[in-house]
Symmetry: C2
Subunit: 151 residues, 2 copies
Protein backbone atom coordinates (compact mmCIF):
# COMPACT_ATOMS: atom_id res chain seq x y z
CA UNK A 1 0.00 0.00 0.00
CA UNK A 2 3.00 2.31 0.03
CA UNK A 3 3.34 1.84 -3.71
CA UNK A 4 3.48 5.31 -5.29
CA UNK A 5 2.01 4.42 -8.74
CA UNK A 6 -0.95 2.82 -6.92
CA UNK A 7 -1.49 6.04 -5.00
CA UNK A 8 -1.42 8.22 -8.12
CA UNK A 9 -3.82 5.80 -9.82
CA UNK A 10 -6.08 5.81 -6.77
CA UNK A 11 -6.25 9.60 -6.56
CA UNK A 12 -6.99 9.87 -10.25
CA UNK A 13 -9.65 7.16 -9.89
CA UNK A 14 -11.36 8.88 -6.94
CA UNK A 15 -11.36 12.28 -8.63
CA UNK A 16 -12.53 10.85 -11.92
CA UNK A 17 -15.29 8.62 -10.61
CA UNK A 18 -16.56 10.41 -7.50
CA UNK A 19 -17.17 14.16 -8.01
CA UNK A 20 -17.59 14.76 -4.27
CA UNK A 21 -14.02 13.52 -3.65
CA UNK A 22 -12.84 16.23 -6.04
CA UNK A 23 -15.11 18.88 -4.48
CA UNK A 24 -13.72 17.95 -1.06
CA UNK A 25 -10.13 18.19 -2.31
CA UNK A 26 -9.34 14.62 -1.27
CA UNK A 27 -5.73 13.54 -1.76
CA UNK A 28 -3.89 10.32 -1.05
CA UNK A 29 -1.44 11.03 1.76
CA UNK A 30 1.70 9.41 3.08
CA UNK A 31 1.28 7.08 6.02
CA UNK A 32 2.85 4.24 7.94
CA UNK A 33 3.12 0.84 6.22
CA UNK A 34 -0.19 -1.00 6.43
CA UNK A 35 -2.27 2.17 6.35
CA UNK A 36 -4.08 4.07 3.67
CA UNK A 37 -4.28 7.82 4.32
CA UNK A 38 -6.58 10.35 2.67
CA UNK A 39 -6.36 14.06 3.39
CA UNK A 40 -8.57 17.03 2.64
CA UNK A 41 -8.22 20.75 3.38
CA UNK A 42 -10.58 22.26 5.93
CA UNK A 43 -11.76 25.12 3.70
CA UNK A 44 -14.21 23.24 1.40
CA UNK A 45 -15.17 20.95 4.29
CA UNK A 46 -15.97 23.25 7.18
CA UNK A 47 -19.29 23.59 8.98
CA UNK A 48 -21.17 26.46 10.64
CA UNK A 49 -18.63 26.41 13.50
CA UNK A 50 -15.53 26.58 11.28
CA UNK A 51 -14.56 23.01 12.20
CA UNK A 52 -14.83 20.02 9.86
CA UNK A 53 -18.40 19.16 8.80
CA UNK A 54 -19.59 15.74 10.03
CA UNK A 55 -20.73 14.85 6.51
CA UNK A 56 -17.23 15.51 5.14
CA UNK A 57 -15.67 13.43 7.94
CA UNK A 58 -18.05 10.56 7.28
CA UNK A 59 -17.45 10.78 3.53
CA UNK A 60 -13.64 10.81 3.78
CA UNK A 61 -13.61 7.95 6.31
CA UNK A 62 -15.83 5.93 3.96
CA UNK A 63 -13.50 6.77 1.06
CA UNK A 64 -10.38 5.82 3.04
CA UNK A 65 -11.80 2.39 3.86
CA UNK A 66 -13.08 1.95 0.31
CA UNK A 67 -9.67 2.93 -1.04
CA UNK A 68 -7.76 0.52 1.17
CA UNK A 69 -9.96 -2.29 -0.12
CA UNK A 70 -9.59 -1.08 -3.71
CA UNK A 71 -5.80 -1.27 -3.37
CA UNK A 72 -5.85 -4.60 -1.50
CA UNK A 73 -8.31 -6.25 -3.89
CA UNK A 74 -6.28 -5.31 -6.94
CA UNK A 75 -9.07 -6.43 -9.28
CA UNK A 76 -10.07 -3.27 -11.20
CA UNK A 77 -13.05 -5.02 -12.81
CA UNK A 78 -14.76 -5.80 -9.49
CA UNK A 79 -17.04 -3.50 -7.53
CA UNK A 80 -16.77 -2.42 -3.92
CA UNK A 81 -19.70 -0.94 -2.03
CA UNK A 82 -20.29 0.07 1.57
CA UNK A 83 -23.17 -1.76 3.22
CA UNK A 84 -23.36 -0.14 6.64
CA UNK A 85 -21.24 2.02 8.91
CA UNK A 86 -21.03 3.66 12.29
CA UNK A 87 -19.16 6.82 13.19
CA UNK A 88 -18.41 8.53 16.49
CA UNK A 89 -17.33 12.19 16.57
CA UNK A 90 -15.29 12.48 19.77
CA UNK A 91 -13.73 15.90 19.21
CA UNK A 92 -14.11 18.63 16.59
CA UNK A 93 -11.49 18.60 13.82
CA UNK A 94 -10.10 22.13 13.84
CA UNK A 95 -7.82 21.92 10.80
CA UNK A 96 -7.09 19.89 7.71
CA UNK A 97 -8.58 16.41 7.68
CA UNK A 98 -6.47 13.26 7.78
CA UNK A 99 -8.33 9.93 7.57
CA UNK A 100 -6.37 6.75 8.25
CA UNK A 101 -7.61 3.27 7.42
CA UNK A 102 -5.50 0.46 8.86
CA UNK A 103 -5.09 -2.82 7.01
CA UNK A 104 -7.19 -5.52 8.72
CA UNK A 105 -5.57 -8.65 10.17
CA UNK A 106 -3.99 -11.01 7.63
CA UNK A 107 -6.52 -13.75 8.45
CA UNK A 108 -9.49 -11.45 7.74
CA UNK A 109 -7.96 -10.32 4.43
CA UNK A 110 -7.14 -13.91 3.45
CA UNK A 111 -10.75 -14.97 4.13
CA UNK A 112 -12.00 -11.94 2.17
CA UNK A 113 -9.81 -12.85 -0.82
CA UNK A 114 -10.81 -16.53 -0.66
CA UNK A 115 -14.51 -15.69 -0.64
CA UNK A 116 -14.09 -13.16 -3.46
CA UNK A 117 -12.21 -15.66 -5.57
CA UNK A 118 -14.48 -18.65 -4.88
CA UNK A 119 -17.94 -17.10 -4.50
CA UNK A 120 -17.41 -13.86 -6.44
CA UNK A 121 -18.58 -11.93 -3.39
CA UNK A 122 -16.88 -11.08 -0.12
CA UNK A 123 -17.53 -8.93 2.91
CA UNK A 124 -15.09 -7.32 5.32
CA UNK A 125 -15.23 -4.88 8.24
CA UNK A 126 -12.86 -1.95 8.03
CA UNK A 127 -11.98 0.71 10.57
CA UNK A 128 -10.74 4.23 10.03
CA UNK A 129 -9.85 7.12 12.29
CA UNK A 130 -9.54 10.83 11.73
CA UNK A 131 -6.75 12.35 13.74
CA UNK A 132 -5.86 15.95 14.40
CA UNK A 133 -3.46 17.59 16.81
CA UNK A 134 -2.19 14.22 17.98
CA UNK A 135 -5.51 12.77 19.04
CA UNK A 136 -8.22 10.59 17.54
CA UNK A 137 -11.16 12.90 16.82
CA UNK A 138 -13.36 10.48 14.86
CA UNK A 139 -13.76 6.70 14.82
CA UNK A 140 -15.40 5.00 11.85
CA UNK A 141 -16.23 1.34 11.19
CA UNK A 142 -17.98 -0.04 8.15
CA UNK A 143 -18.91 -3.29 6.41
CA UNK A 144 -17.81 -3.33 2.79
CA UNK A 145 -18.81 -5.79 0.09
CA UNK A 146 -16.78 -6.62 -3.01
CA UNK A 147 -18.50 -8.16 -6.03
CA UNK A 148 -16.62 -9.77 -8.88
CA UNK A 149 -17.65 -8.65 -12.34
CA UNK A 150 -19.73 -11.27 -14.18
CA UNK A 151 -18.19 -10.42 -17.52
CA UNK B 1 -41.74 22.80 9.70
CA UNK B 2 -43.80 23.50 6.60
CA UNK B 3 -43.10 27.22 7.02
CA UNK B 4 -41.77 28.55 3.71
CA UNK B 5 -39.66 31.47 5.08
CA UNK B 6 -37.98 28.99 7.45
CA UNK B 7 -37.11 26.78 4.49
CA UNK B 8 -35.63 29.64 2.49
CA UNK B 9 -33.64 30.73 5.55
CA UNK B 10 -32.48 27.15 6.14
CA UNK B 11 -31.30 26.66 2.55
CA UNK B 12 -29.44 29.96 2.62
CA UNK B 13 -27.91 29.01 5.99
CA UNK B 14 -26.76 25.58 4.78
CA UNK B 15 -25.24 26.98 1.57
CA UNK B 16 -23.62 29.88 3.40
CA UNK B 17 -22.16 27.96 6.30
CA UNK B 18 -21.40 24.50 4.88
CA UNK B 19 -19.61 24.60 1.50
CA UNK B 20 -20.16 20.87 0.94
CA UNK B 21 -23.95 21.39 1.04
CA UNK B 22 -23.52 23.85 -1.83
CA UNK B 23 -21.15 21.53 -3.72
CA UNK B 24 -23.69 18.73 -3.34
CA UNK B 25 -26.52 20.94 -4.61
CA UNK B 26 -28.59 20.41 -1.46
CA UNK B 27 -32.04 22.01 -1.48
CA UNK B 28 -34.86 22.05 1.02
CA UNK B 29 -37.71 20.04 -0.48
CA UNK B 30 -41.43 19.80 0.09
CA UNK B 31 -42.62 17.03 2.36
CA UNK B 32 -45.43 15.80 4.54
CA UNK B 33 -46.17 17.74 7.75
CA UNK B 34 -43.76 16.70 10.50
CA UNK B 35 -40.92 15.96 8.10
CA UNK B 36 -37.91 17.88 6.89
CA UNK B 37 -36.83 16.97 3.36
CA UNK B 38 -33.52 17.73 1.68
CA UNK B 39 -32.86 16.88 -1.95
CA UNK B 40 -29.73 16.76 -4.10
CA UNK B 41 -29.19 15.93 -7.76
CA UNK B 42 -27.35 12.72 -8.60
CA UNK B 43 -24.79 14.33 -10.91
CA UNK B 44 -22.44 15.91 -8.31
CA UNK B 45 -23.08 13.01 -5.93
CA UNK B 46 -22.54 9.89 -7.98
CA UNK B 47 -19.98 7.17 -7.36
CA UNK B 48 -17.92 4.86 -9.58
CA UNK B 49 -21.08 2.87 -10.38
CA UNK B 50 -23.19 5.88 -11.40
CA UNK B 51 -25.38 5.52 -8.31
CA UNK B 52 -25.31 7.86 -5.30
CA UNK B 53 -22.01 7.89 -3.39
CA UNK B 54 -22.31 6.59 0.18
CA UNK B 55 -20.48 9.65 1.48
CA UNK B 56 -23.07 11.94 -0.14
CA UNK B 57 -25.91 9.86 1.28
CA UNK B 58 -24.40 9.97 4.75
CA UNK B 59 -23.78 13.71 4.48
CA UNK B 60 -27.30 14.59 3.30
CA UNK B 61 -28.92 12.36 5.95
CA UNK B 62 -26.79 14.07 8.62
CA UNK B 63 -27.80 17.47 7.20
CA UNK B 64 -31.51 16.54 7.13
CA UNK B 65 -31.46 15.56 10.80
CA UNK B 66 -29.36 18.60 11.70
CA UNK B 67 -31.77 20.83 9.78
CA UNK B 68 -34.86 19.41 11.47
CA UNK B 69 -33.31 20.17 14.84
CA UNK B 70 -32.22 23.63 13.66
CA UNK B 71 -35.82 24.43 12.71
CA UNK B 72 -37.28 22.84 15.86
CA UNK B 73 -34.82 24.50 18.22
CA UNK B 74 -35.49 27.95 16.82
CA UNK B 75 -32.56 29.43 18.78
CA UNK B 76 -30.18 30.77 16.11
CA UNK B 77 -27.51 31.55 18.71
CA UNK B 78 -27.16 27.94 19.89
CA UNK B 79 -25.01 25.25 18.30
CA UNK B 80 -26.03 21.83 17.10
CA UNK B 81 -23.49 19.08 16.50
CA UNK B 82 -23.72 15.42 15.60
CA UNK B 83 -22.13 13.11 18.15
CA UNK B 84 -22.51 9.68 16.56
CA UNK B 85 -24.48 8.02 13.80
CA UNK B 86 -25.20 4.75 12.07
CA UNK B 87 -26.23 4.23 8.48
CA UNK B 88 -27.39 1.19 6.52
CA UNK B 89 -27.33 1.20 2.73
CA UNK B 90 -30.06 -1.27 1.74
CA UNK B 91 -30.30 -0.48 -1.97
CA UNK B 92 -28.38 1.74 -4.38
CA UNK B 93 -29.95 5.15 -5.06
CA UNK B 94 -30.18 5.32 -8.85
CA UNK B 95 -31.40 8.90 -9.22
CA UNK B 96 -31.75 12.19 -7.43
CA UNK B 97 -31.42 12.00 -3.66
CA UNK B 98 -34.28 12.71 -1.27
CA UNK B 99 -33.51 12.56 2.46
CA UNK B 100 -36.41 12.68 4.89
CA UNK B 101 -36.06 13.33 8.60
CA UNK B 102 -39.23 12.74 10.62
CA UNK B 103 -40.00 14.82 13.68
CA UNK B 104 -39.38 12.75 16.83
CA UNK B 105 -42.20 12.01 19.29
CA UNK B 106 -43.57 15.05 21.16
CA UNK B 107 -42.32 13.71 24.50
CA UNK B 108 -38.75 13.38 23.20
CA UNK B 109 -38.82 16.90 21.76
CA UNK B 110 -40.30 18.31 24.99
CA UNK B 111 -37.54 16.67 27.03
CA UNK B 112 -34.94 17.98 24.57
CA UNK B 113 -36.31 21.53 24.89
CA UNK B 114 -36.53 21.31 28.68
CA UNK B 115 -32.93 20.16 28.99
CA UNK B 116 -31.73 22.82 26.51
CA UNK B 117 -33.55 25.54 28.42
CA UNK B 118 -32.55 24.41 31.93
CA UNK B 119 -29.07 22.93 31.46
CA UNK B 120 -28.01 24.75 28.28
CA UNK B 121 -27.29 21.36 26.68
CA UNK B 122 -29.56 18.69 25.26
CA UNK B 123 -29.25 15.49 23.33
CA UNK B 124 -31.72 13.79 21.00
CA UNK B 125 -31.75 10.82 18.64
CA UNK B 126 -32.99 11.53 15.12
CA UNK B 127 -33.76 9.21 12.26
CA UNK B 128 -33.71 9.87 8.54
CA UNK B 129 -34.34 7.80 5.45
CA UNK B 130 -33.38 8.18 1.84
CA UNK B 131 -36.06 6.98 -0.49
CA UNK B 132 -36.04 6.39 -4.23
CA UNK B 133 -38.45 4.69 -6.57
CA UNK B 134 -40.94 4.15 -3.75
CA UNK B 135 -38.64 2.27 -1.43
CA UNK B 136 -36.38 3.03 1.50
CA UNK B 137 -32.81 2.74 0.19
CA UNK B 138 -30.94 4.11 3.21
CA UNK B 139 -31.66 4.26 6.93
CA UNK B 140 -29.79 6.72 9.15
CA UNK B 141 -29.91 7.33 12.90
CA UNK B 142 -27.81 9.80 14.83
CA UNK B 143 -27.40 11.39 18.25
CA UNK B 144 -27.33 15.18 18.06
CA UNK B 145 -26.33 17.61 20.80
CA UNK B 146 -27.50 21.22 21.08
CA UNK B 147 -25.48 23.69 23.15
CA UNK B 148 -26.80 27.05 24.22
CA UNK B 149 -24.50 29.97 23.54
CA UNK B 150 -22.79 31.25 26.71
CA UNK B 151 -22.96 34.84 25.58
Amino acid sequence: MSDVPDHAELESYLHGKIPLARAMGVKVGAGEPGTLVLTAPLEPNHNHLGTAFGGSLSAIATLAAYSLLWVELGDRTGHIVVHRSEIVYHHPVRGDIRAICRRPADAALAEFRRSYSEAGKARIRLRATIEHGGRVCVEFAGDFVALRSRE
